[in-house]
């Protein structure tokens, strides 16, 4: 959708995350991720399991475990919220940037009504209390398509789709400007998935909410997002408008990911898997991390890691094919 302002609301700048391993080693989970979001924009963050997309999301929220070390900057309205540690990020967490965790619909407290859980969030953040918290809860539930009367229901009395809506309502309780949704439709049926995507679409449009949609499902991103960043082995290997990524991908991984997703419109085309598996991130990778699985690799790919470079209007890719001609 068209964004009202071009000033980035959220900017992630050269983000790195390392995890300490029990054997004394280090796992470099996120390796220099950059992206920016303007109000109302929807960005898809896509990649296979273990590519660092959820770690990136948790780093932005300042919610990584103590075994992680983080470097880089996360700028909110130009202010670095990572630099000052917990004290700096706390006033913004949930208030400006909120997250719907993967499996959130299954992590609601089973012995509290959904209304109670939202009231609790409102009171904790001193947004409202007593009667006004109740009223605000009803409003929040309505905004995600749950009749306010259901506030007195327990999670087990609701379907998966309704629980996911409740989890979204809870994330929205402090009126954040950025919502990170981690695999929000993964365990849901296709019709319920469509309902949740329609809900997110409406929230972005009505409240100028900026959305980061973290998923492994490219067609879901194609349905909802304007732009997409494709992650591989802890790095963004390509980013740009979705239309460009599908019709003129600048990285073989993006092309191969699309070709691995069956599509209704191309049901007589072969569906091709990507051979091999992503590299281990606790070891140094020589050359391009995708080279062992790539169908177009050539000599230089083995020795030199490609940089993420502009290849078109708002389109960047990290692949030697864009700058050199294979010998």
């Amino acid at each position: 959708m068209s964004a009202a302002s071009t000033e980035p609301l959220l900017q992630v700048d050269d983000l790195h995350v390392w995890f300490d391993l029990e054997d004394g080693g280090e796992l470099h989970a996120v390796q220099g991720v950059n992206f920016a979001l303007v109000p109302g924009e929807r960005l898809g963050l896509v990649g296979e399991s273990g590519c660092g997309k959820t770690t990136t999301a948790l780093a932005i929220m300042g919610l990584l475990p103590s075994s992680a070390s983080v470097a880089g900057r996360v700028l909110l309205d130009g202010e670095d919220i990572l630099a000052g540690g917990e004290a700096a990020i706390r006033p913004h967490r949930w208030v400006d940037v909120a997250i719907v965790f993967q499996g959130a619909m299954n992590s609601l407290n089973p012995v509290r009504t959904i209304g109670h859980q939202i009231v609790e969030a409102l009171e904790l953040h001193q947004r409202a209390s007593g009667k006004s918290a109740q009223a605000r809860t009803a409003e929040l539930l309505e905004s995600v398509g749950i009749p306010a009367g259901r506030a007195s229901r327990y999670p087990h009395e609701l379907s998966g789709g309704m629980r996911q809506r409740a989890a979204i309502a809870m994330a929205l309780s402090c009126n954040p400007r950025v919502l990170i949704a981690d695999e929000p439709t993964t365990a849901l049926d296709v019709m319920v998935q469509a309902q949740i995507l329609e809900l997110l679409d409406g929230l972005c449009r009505d409240f100028e909410l900026a959305l980061v949609l973290v998923t492994h499902d490219l067609p879901v991103v194609a349905q909802l997002c304007d732009r997409c960043a494709v992650m591989y082995a802890g790095e963004i290997v390509e980013r740009g408008p979705l239309d460009t990524l599908y019709h003129a991908p600048g990285h073989p991984y993006t092309r191969m990911l699309f070709a691995a997703s069956p599509d209704l419109g191309a049901h007589d085309e072969p569906v091709l898997s990507i051979p091999g598996a992503p590299p281990r991130l606790d070891r140094l990778i020589e050359g391009c991390p995708f080279r062992p699985r790539c169908d177009s690799a050539f000599e230089v790919c083995a020795v030199q890691p490609p940089d993420l470079l502009p290849v078109g209007e708002g389109h960047d890719a990290a692949c030697h094919l864009n700058t050199r001609v294979p010998a």
Binding site: E48, S49, S159, G160, G161, D189, V190, M191, V192, Q193, A194, Q195, L197, E198, H216, D217, L218, P219, V220, A222, Q223, L242, D243, Y246, H247, M256, L257, F258, A260, S261, P262, D263, L264, G265, H267, D268, E269, V271, L272, S273, I274, P275, A277
Partner: protein
């Protein structure tokens, strides 16, 4: 080996499966009426050698129960499951045993379905031991290796001594398929075989299943993913609340859907080309629970084009005028001129 080409290998007819709801002490003592979950209410389907039939539908539509009835893991209330000409429903455990070898299953989650203490060798060999098949130890070992080759885990020596936790999700699912194949079944039931796997490896597992089908295996695939069904199945059957509402050749069902439910389902499938973004026809609510089935057409409370008649008349599967042979749907409005103004009962009252 090959049976009469005209008669299907597997034929399910008018299958009904109900699960009684526990009434509790008070309910039983008070003689409250027994209530049931109507999981499957009159399903008929057939499967040929070398064919994949995809059973699609939302959670709770009865697709897994149908598969379990085919596997004879649940007892149907009525109906028949004929396999190679023999009805399996009246058979007891002893009579079923030799048939179980010929109808095998692969489950959704290869992280749960493989015994973590067994090496790949043991996982794939176990079915042979249970069925006392495969001859000598060395003959069994050869059959295990052959099964691994058929799922493209080759050379098998690379995998035989590994434990499940040392394998990727895609490799685990291939091991699960190999453990089913080692018995040389005629029918494979695959219940959401790739939904737990990463997108990059799904195609590999599906292509393995497709290759096995080409070699003559009959596959009943349970899935909620219409894109996968459209690409890999020869026929698609769409289920809603315990019934098949549309069934036919995969391309026909996808390109020329007849039932309003199929049309809605197809319209919400995300497409990978953003230019193909379409106006999804989102149905309100979720599949009603299968205890209180709506009267008339069971889809009418959510149907965008339902008319008054739909609340009373239960439509049968028939061939629509605009569809090709072998394509059937259960809707009262089939063949009626779409331009005719129908008074929709759901248009004015959303929800």
């Amino acid at each position: 080996m090959s049976t009469n080409g005209a008669s299907p290998l597997l034929e399910v007819e008018d299958l009904v499966v109900r699960y009684p709801i526990a009434r509790g002490l008070v309910g039983s003592a008070g003689r409250r009426p027994q209530r049931n979950v109507h999981a499957v209410e009159g399903v008929s389907l057939s499967l040929q050698r070398g064919e994949m039939l995809a059973l699609v539908g939302e959670s709770g539509c009865g697709k897994t129960t149908t598969a379990q009835a085919v596997l004879r893991l649940v007892d149907p209330v009525s109906g028949s499951v004929r396999f190679d000409g023999q009805d399996l429903v009246p058979l007891g455990p002893r009579e079923l045993r030799p048939i179980r070898r010929r109808i095998q299953v692969v489950y959704q989650d290869p992280y749960e379905s493989l015994d973590p203490r067994f090496r790949v060798r043991g996982v794939v060999e176990e079915p042979l031991l249970i069925h006392r098949l495969g001859g000598s130890k060395s003959e069994r070992a050869e059959r295990v290796r052959e099964a691994l080759r058929r799922v493209e885990l080759s050379p098998p020596e690379l995998y035989l001594d590994r434990y499940p936790h040392e394998l990727s999700g895609g490799q685990r699912q291939r091991v699960a398929i190999a453990a089913a194949l080692v018995l040389e079944p005629d029918v494979l039931v695959a219940d959401e075989p790739v939904s737990m796997l990463d997108v990059s490896v799904r195609a590999g597992v599906l292509n393995v299943l497709d290759g096995l089908r080409e070699q003559g295996l009959a596959i009943l695939m349970i899935t909620h993913d219409l894109s996968t069904a459209a690409r890999f199945a020869q026929r698609i059957a769409v289920m809603y609340l315990g019934r098949i509402v549309e069934e036919g050749p995969a391309a026909a069902v996808v390109m020329n859907p007849q039932h309003p439910y199929t049309k809605a389902l197809l319209s919400v499938v995300p497409r990978r080309d953003p230019r193909d973004r379409q106006q999804p026809q989102i149905l309100k609510g979720e599949t009603p629970d299968a205890v209180a089935i709506p009267t008339g057409c069971r889809f009418h409370p959510r149907c965008p084009v339902a008319i008054e008649r739909c609340a009373h008349e239960d439509p049968a599967l028939t061939r629509p005028a605009t569809a090709e042979a072998k394509h059937r749907a259960a809707c009262l409005l089939l063949g009626s001129d779409p331009v005719v103004q129908q008074v929709s009962v759901n248009q004015s009252s959303p929800g």
